[in-house]
Every structure is written in structure tokens, then in C-alpha cells.
């Protein structure tokens, strides 16, 4: 559904993701990749990986990836439109649910909804990671790196992720230098 207007395209991509991203922004990274690289050709895969890495290393929510894609597509206006499209709809929904929440004190439905949606979030997170890894052309090294850091994060829950992420960066630089 490409239109001639780049801002409408950004909204068409990110606004639905805003309302479907159960389990947080990371769960829809796989779909962002599909849309931005394969469908709209806004970015190459390598550019997407660079922006994804920056959004993970920078402070703040990882959903800033949308801001960076918007910025890459059409500068500051693009960044603003993409951010509003990704954060806006979910924030409006959260606003009304929050208001209803603060009014009612009987909340048995929260456990039910959480039990129902948690498995989707888990599945989305795993699928996102695998979709992006599949499209990397860098051979087995990124897969190995991802598997090892998944193991580390599984084992050490309190670890500051930034340490492991930067170590991952250095390992790949070293691997590409030596092999």
C-alpha cells in the first residue's frame, strides 16, 4: 500500500505496529525490518542493522529505532512523524486504560489478559530476533554471537546489558580482522 507521500507511508508502517506490539517495542523489530528493508526499500539491511545497534546502545526505549528509521528516510520531520506514529496510538490507548484503571479497584481481568498475551510476546521476541539474524549475510558469526549472549543474559539477570552488547561489537571486529 505504498502512497506517494513519504510521511503517510511512515504512519502506515508504524501506527499499526504501535497497537500490535504486545510485550514492548522489541517484539515488532522483525516486522519493522520486513517493511523498511524488503517492502519500502527505505534502508539496506546493513543500514537497518546499524540503526538497530544504535537504538539498543543509546539510552531510552529501544523503540527509538522507529525515530532513527524516520530520520534516515526524511530527516527531522521523518523522525518526528515516525516517533509520533509509533508512540502515539499506544499512548492514547494507555491513557484511557490508565484512567479506567485508577477508577476501578477490582482487577481480576489483568491476570487473565496477562496470561493470554504473555505467550504472544515471547513468541514475537524470539521470532523478531531470528528474522533479523536470518537476513544477515555475515555467515555463522552473528548467529553464534547472538546465541552466546542469549546464554549470558539467561544466566546473569542483573548484568548491565551494555557491557555484553559492546563486548559483542568488539568480538565481531576482532573476528573480521583475523579471519
Amino acid at each position: 500500500m505504498k502512497t506517494s507521500n513519504i510521511y503517510l507511508d511512515l504512519i502506515a508502517v508504524f501506527a499499526p505496529l504501535s497497537l500490535i506490539s504486545v510485550g514492548g517495542g522489541q517484539s515488532v523489530v522483525g516486522d519493522m525490518h520486513l517493511q523498511a528493508v524488503d517492502i519500502y526499500h527505505w534502508l539496506t539491511h546493513a543500514q537497518f542493522i546499524d540503526l538497530f545497534a544504535i537504538s539498543r546502545a543509546a539510552p531510552g526505549p529501544g523503540a527509538l529505532l522507529a525515530t532513527l528509521i524516520g530520520w534516515q528516510v526524511s530527516g527531522w520531520q521523518g523522525a518526528l512523524v515516525a516517533s509520533l506514529a509509533l508512540f502515539g496510538p499506544s499512548t492514547v490507548l494507555a491513557y484511557f486504560v490508565t484512567r479506567a484503571w485508577h477508577k476501578s479497584h477490582d482487577k481480576p481481568w489483568t491476570t487473565l489478559v496477562q496470561n493470554a498475551l504473555a505467550p504472544l510476546a515471547s513468541g514475537l521476541l524470539l521470532t523478531s530476533a531470528i528474522i533479523i539474524l536470518r537476513s544477515t549475510s555475515g555467515g555463522v558469526t552473528p548467529w553464534l554471537l547472538a546465541a552466546v549472549s542469549a546464554g549470558i543474559f539467561w544466566r546473569f539477570k542483573k548484568l548491565n546489558p551494555l557491557i555484553v552488547l559492546c563486548a559483542g561489537g568488539f568480538v565481531l571486529v576482532a573476528a573480521r580482522l583475523w579471519f
Binding site: L68, N115, G123, T127, L145, I163
Partner: protein, 203 residues
């Protein structure tokens, strides 16, 4: 003014401590969330919020924070933005919620764009792209580990949550179906399963 009343009260009656849930000003809300947004390198934002709002300033009790965290994780969208909205709304009403989200999100947005301007300018240097690619691979490992942990946690409910997680993978990755309908259908299935389980446990 309640503060003056509290002060004069406490000068007369020594025992009751100051009000247990003081209310921050909009300015303080903005500063706190902006600080968290701009300094939370490596994630763990909700942990920082907990430290500031529960441990340090006592604006919220632990239970209030945990229920805010739960609701913000149920809702779609970036969890931390939902959490900021919920906390801000609780402390200062609708405008407080809006201020909190803006404060949390805007500084890191500007930082991230500046960072990418610098790094991608240097992007022609091969090792910088290699570094970012390695960092991305590790970040994908982090994403996957959170998914795996979620699968392990929901296994206590039986086999249906695992089936749902696997269905997401089959639908999106193997069959390459579009995201929105897949999630809507599976969410419905999940609600039905969770509902049946809850009514069965009540009996």
C-alpha cells in the same frame, strides 16, 4: 496548605512522620523522567524508575509500582512509555502523564539521532559497521533470551502458552503471514484459553 499544616502538626505532635505519599510537582516529574530517559544506557529503565519513585522519593508504594508495571506490560506499545504515563497520571493527573512520557522519550530521541549522525558519517570505516553488527547480534541475543524466559515462565500454566508462542513463530517465520491478523487471532485464542483455565481453577 497541607504542607504547612503537617509542619505545624509535627511541631506539636512529634510522632506521625510526614505524609507517606508526597506529590511531586510537574517540574520534578519532568526532571526525573528526563534524567532516566537520557542516562539509562543499556536498558533496565523500569528498574531506574523503581529506584527513584519508590526507594528514593517514596512517591509510590512497591505494590502501586508493581501494578503499574503489570498494566503497562499488558498494553501494547513501548512498555516504559506506558509505565511513565501510568505513574505520571497517578501522581499528577492527565497532564502529569503526558509530561512524563514526553520527558522520558524526547531526550534519548535527540541523543540517538545525534549518535547515528556521528556513527553513520564514520560508517564508511569498515570496523565501525562490524562493531555495530556485533552489537546488534548481541542485542538480538538479549531479545531472544527475554522471549525464552517468558516461555519458561508461562509453562507453569500448561502447554497452551507454549503452543501459542510456537504458533507465532510458525505463522510469521515459516508461513510468512502478515503480523496484525496473526496476532489478533492468536490473542483471541489466548484469551479463550486463559479464561477457561481461570474458571476451571475457581471450581
Amino acid at each position: 496548605m497541607p504542607i504547612l499544616a503537617a509542619m505545624s502538626d509535627s511541631s506539636l505532635i512529634p510522632t506521625p512522620p510526614a505524609s507517606p505519599t508526597p506529590t511531586p510537582t510537574l517540574g520534578l516529574l519532568f526532571i526525573l523522567f528526563a534524567k532516566i530517559g537520557a542516562t539509562s544506557f543499556g536498558g533496565g529503565i523500569s528498574g531506574w524508575m523503581y529506584r527513584d519513585f519508590v526507594d528514593r522519593y517514596h512517591f509510590l508504594t512497591e505494590d502501586e509500582f508493581m501494578s503499574a508495571l503489570t498494566i503497562s506490560q499488558i498494553l501494547p506499545g513501548p512498555n516504559v512509555a506506558n509505565l511513565a504515563l501510568h505513574i505520571g497520571h497517578k501522581l499528577r493527573g492527565g497532564i502529569g502523564g503526558l509530561v512524563s512520557v514526553m520527558a522520558l522519550v524526547t531526550p534519548p530521541m535527540i541523543l540517538a539521532v545525534l549518535l547515528s549522525i556521528v556513527l553513520l558519517d564514520l560508517g564508511s570505516i569498515k570496523w565501525i559497521h562490524d562493531f555495530l553488527e556485533g552489537l546488534a547480534a548481541s542485542a538480538l541475543g538479549l531479545t531472544a533470551s527475554i522471549g525464552l524466559r517468558g516461555i519458561k515462565r508461562s509453562y507453569r500454566l500448561g502447554l497452551w502458552p507454549l503452543t501459542l508462542s510456537v504458533s507465532v513463530f510458525i505463522g510469521l517465520f515459516l508461513l510468512e503471514l502478515p503480523l496484525v491478523p496473526v496476532i489478533l487471532v492468536l490473542a483471541l485464542v489466548g484469551l479463550v484459553c486463559a479464561h477457561f483455565q481461570q474458571t476451571r481453577m475457581k471450581r
